[in-house]
């Protein structure tokens, strides 16, 4: 029965009441508390250690030597997030809504740059496009190419944008595949052009997915060390790295980065809650509208080709060149593909384990934070998001201290996967939240009226609707985990190598061919796993 007060209540309150408030889901609340406690662990360690240092150390926070790099981090993060959003939405729209030839292949190609570790991306793009690089050398007989030295803000901005736009692309595609094209069809039938339709119909629908992706790009950028170190842009992570033997400074600055992430997460959450009503609801249906690109097709193909060329083919091309050059010269140290087997197996194992564990672990938080809202939800949300911005080394050393007490767990794969989940859980949280928010209440209401139990409603109605968003998020965690370095180095069982750790180790000692073979294997296994577990499945679910 619907009462008058229900009808008068604001839509969100009404929806909440229809579903039952927090009181009626103590299990969920407990689960969220437990999960939040896990994500809070490294922060608690940092805060406790920092407070133990006393006031002199806290004075570091206000010093200009740390404020300037902090501002550079924020500026770079904001610029990269903006550019990656434009690129990610454009690519997502082309793949999901147009008759771009080979859309399914492009979908995979667009997702893959995410797996290129930023130090490898930066190094290879530099080798390709900088002074005297491969491009200049190849072009030399035809035309003298005088390319500038690559470095500083523009280079860091360019490289990080190319490597992070998939954070926007994957959630946007998942969203577009799930939203009905009927509105767009109506708009077109009513005479709106493709651009007007895009601006007035498509954009509002993908807005939440887009913002979720932009937040991830921002957090990735402010916590990145590989690209800014190689390209000489002095952000906070470089100051943190330089202070690693100076324990007080290191703790305070790490905490500063984490707090920045928490603040940004809280701000984004506030913006999202105003925006919530605007996002379109899900109505899964097949045969989404495909816009005929017509003459624009060439431009669309050129854009797609350009993105894939710079973000994927250029780095891979340089790696392939290094690999063949070194192996041909005979001094590469490369001893055959057999060496790849174990790191490859390990990489796939931790990637899949972390992706599934992260997706499952944050689902209750996503549910709670969208459906119930309130202080617990806000705190859990901020902690999960904040974990993404902690430098990997800081997170790893915090967990070393916390887990030392339990020798059976120390340096076990379980703890390593836990670290990945804490570090990358934000990636699947934000996409899952978008999915939960987009779930049409009527579907659930109908199931309730038909007498379905809460568990049955969850498994038969809600999870299938959530699956595409959750899969997109799990895909992001998968790709991030497979290239992770500091936590893998410090927390993995001794002797446990991944393709990323082998590639980095070889590159550090200038074993270019060896490093390239491992990096190429990393991209290949990422492509296969992303295809099998993420893109193919989300196609099937759309």
């Amino acid at each position: 029965m619907v009462s008058a007060s229900d009808l008068l209540a604001r839509p969100r309150d009404r929806a909440r009441r229809a579903r039952g408030g927090p009181r009626r889901a103590p299990g969920l609340t407990l689960a969220v508390l437990a999960i939040a406690a896990c994500f809070a662990a490294p922060f608690a360690y940092l805060v406790a250690r920092t407070l133990g240092l006393g006031t002199p150390a806290l004075g570091l926070l206000g010093e200009s030597a740390t404020i300037a790099p902090l501002l550079r981090s924020v500026a770079l993060g904001a610029a990269v997030a903006a550019a990656a959003t434009v690129l990610g939405v454009a690519c997502g729209w082309l793949v999901a809504r147009t008759d771009l030839p080979g859309a399914r292949s492009w979908a995979l190609l667009f997702a893959l740059p995410l797996v290129i570790p930023s130090y490898i991306g930066a190094f290879t793009l530099q080798a390709a496009f900088a002074t005297g690089g491969l491009v200049a050398t190849v072009m030399e007989p035809l035309v003298a190419v005088n390319l500038p030295r690559i470095g500083g803000f523009p280079a860091a901005f360019g490289v990080l944008t190319l490597l992070t736009y998939p954070y926007v692309f994957l959630p946007v595609v998942a969203r577009l595949r799930q939203t009905p094209a009927s509105l767009e069809e109506s708009a077109r039938l009513l005479g709106r052009g493709p651009w007007a339709t895009f601006a007035t119909v498509v954009l509002p629908q993908v807005r939440s997915a887009m913002l979720a992706g932009a937040l991830l790009v921002f957090l990735y950028t402010i916590s990145d060390f590989g690209a800014v170190q190689l390209l000489r842009y002095d952000t906070l992570t470089r100051v943190i790295y330089a202070s690693r033997f100076d324990r007080p400074a290191w703790l305070v600055l790490s905490l500063q980065l984490g707090l920045l992430a928490v603040a940004v997460a809280a701000g984004e959450r506030a913006a999202m809650s105003r925006d919530r009503a605007a996002g379109g609801r899900v109505a899964p249906g097949r045969g989404a509208l495909r816009i005929h690109l017509g003459r624009v097709r060439i431009a669309a193909l050129a854009l797609s080709g350009g993105v894939v060329l710079f973000a994927l083919l250029a780095p891979l091309g340089v790696l392939a060149y290094w690999a063949t050059r070194g192996i041909a010269a005979g001094g590469s140290g490369f001893s055959g593909l057999g060496e790849l087997v174990e790191p490859l197996r390990n990489t796939a194992l931790v990637g899949l384990a972390a992706a599934s564990a992260a997706a499952l672990a944050v689902l209750p938080v996503a549910y709670h934070s969208v459906r119930h809202r309130g202080r617990l939800a806000d705190v859990a949300n901020a902690l999960v998001v904040g974990g993404f911005a902690l430098p990997g080394l800081t997170l790893a050393l915090a967990l070393v201290t916390l887990v030392r007490a339990a020798p059976a767990l120390y340096q076990s794969l379980g703890v390593l996967v836990f670290a990945y989940v804490v570090h990358f859980g934000a990636q699947t949280l934000r996409t899952a939240q978008v999915g939960v928010a987009a779930m049409p209440p009527r579907v659930d209401d109908a199931a309730r009226l038909l007498g379905a139990s809460p568990l049955r409603r969850l498994t038969a109605v809600e999870l299938p609707l959530l699956a595409p968003s959750v899969l997109a998020g799990a895909g992001l965690v998968l790709l991030s985990t497979m290239k992770e370095l500091p936590a893998t180095y410090l927390l993995a069982p001794t002797g446990f190598d991944t393709l990323a750790t082998r590639a980095w180790g070889a590159m550090e000692q200038a074993y270019w061919a060896q490093a390239s073979v491992f990096a190429l294997a990393l991209v290949t296994v990422s492509a296969v796993l992303t295809w099998v577990f993420v893109l193919r499945r989300s196609d099937a679910l759309a």
């Binding site: 030597a65 080798a127 900088a130 002074t131 005297g132 690089g133 030295r149 190689l230 000489r232 002095d234 470089r238 100051v239 790295y241 330089a242 202070s243 690693r244 033997f245 100076d246 290094w322 050059r325 070194g326 010269a329 001094g331 590469s332 194992l349 931790v350 899949l352 384990a353 599934s356 080394l393 050393l397 070393v400 201290t401 030392r404 340096q411 076990s412 794969l413 379980g414 996967v417 299938p464 699956a467 500091p486 180095y489 410090l490 993995a492 069982p493 001794t494 002797g495 750790t501 082998r502 180790g505 070889a506 590159m507 550090e508 000692q509 200038a510 074993y511 270019w512 577990f533 499945r537």
Partner: protein
């Protein structure tokens, strides 16, 4: 629906399998934390295993990060042996009293400048600081004689450095301790004011020099040999500063035994093995480093290292002053 269930099952199986593998790890082996990569030392550690039957589990990583890990783990670290790229990180652990004393007959194999006075660590191989240059852009005769000359107007802005690199920092520490902090500060400030190009590490410098992006750079000697192995056409060459110049400092990779493994004979066996003629020959020929055990010659293409001509500096002293050095570099404006 069934497809989805199957894929969740696959995920779950992976997680379970992962946890079980971790629990199955035995402890009857020698655990080594190695800041030197698998390409450099992996084959040698396999030989050690073949010859002695001692199983070795190796955690490879960045030297500084592994030192931080060892410091965090403290007295009950699972590591028995720490094999480090530089004396700086090892000195940090020796200062924290986390390393055991080594056998005297092992220590005596190495010149006293390349080992710890208290016997907590010993040098295994030497890496010399050199100036790498692009032979198509710079004439050999025009190169600076001393590392202190790179700020002369003739060279200003043409020599690249890697301010965050451990070996560069070790050099600055030595400079500050031998010539005084003011000289070191002046030298760094000179580089910064001249707009010396900075790079992330030795690799990036050699790569940039080979491309011609920068003419010269301060690096460790063996990177260029690595480059030439894979790209024999590269125009990069090493220039060693004049005899006795601090710019030709030799920095050693070091090995040490953790305090908890003080009575572990296997750990001592590995240290002795790394200084054996077989291992020293391997390093000389394969990694182009200078063997530090007496009586083993460097590779023919690297040439002999005249210890008498290298600056009389104790590697032991590089451990202290690391954070001071980082502050010095940061304050100079070179960045860090």
């Amino acid at each position: 629906m069934s497809g989805r269930t199957a894929s969740f099952r696959r995920f779950a199986a992976c997680v379970l399998a992962g946890t079980l593998t971790a629990c199955a790890g035995g402890s009857e082996e020698l655990t080594v934390y190695s800041g030197r990569s698998e390409e450099l030392v992996g084959p040698l550690l396999e030989r050690f295993n073949d010859e002695t039957g001692i199983n070795v589990a190796v955690r490879y990583g960045d030297t500084a990060e592994l030192a931080l890990l060892l410091a965090e783990e403290g007295g009950d670290t699972p590591a028995d042996v720490f094999y480090s790229q530089s004396p700086g990180a090892t000195g940090y652990l020796a200062d924290a009293d986390l390393l055991a004393g080594l056998e005297p007959d092992v220590l005596s194999q190495v010149d006293e400048r390349f080992r710890n006075a208290d016997g907590r660590w010993v040098g295994v191989t030497g890496r010399q600081r050199v100036l790498v240059y692009n032979s198509e852009l710079v004439e050999e005769g025009d190169l600076p004689a001393s590392v202190l000359d790179v700020n002369d107007p003739e060279y200003a802005g043409r020599v690249a450095v890697a301010p965050e690199n451990g070996s560069f920092q070790d050099f600055v520490t030595a400079l500050a301790q031998v010539e005084g902090t003011d000289v070191a500060r002046g030298w760094l400030t000179g580089l910064a004011e001249a707009g010396a190009p900075t790079y992330a590490n030795n690799n990036a410098i050699v790569e940039a020099v080979s491309r011609g992006e920068v003419e010269m750079g301060l690096v460790n000697h063996y990177y260029n040999y690595r480059f030439l192995e894979e790209n024999p056409d590269a125009p990069t060459r090493n220039h060693v500063f004049a005899a006795g110049d601090l710019g030709s400092l030799v920095i050693d990779s070091t090995v040490s035994v953790t305090a908890g493994a003080a009575d572990n004979a296997d750990a001592d066996a590995l240290v002795a093995f790394l200084l054996s003629e077989e291992s020293q020959r391997y390093f000389a020929d394969e990694t182009k480093e200078y063997p530090l055990a007496e009586g083993v010659e460097p590779a023919a293409d690297v040439g002999p290292l005249d210890l008498g001509a290298t600056p009389g500096y104790q590697a032991d002293e590089l451990g202290g002053g690391l954070t001071d050095t980082i502050d010095l570099i940061r304050d100079s404006g070179l960045g860090v």
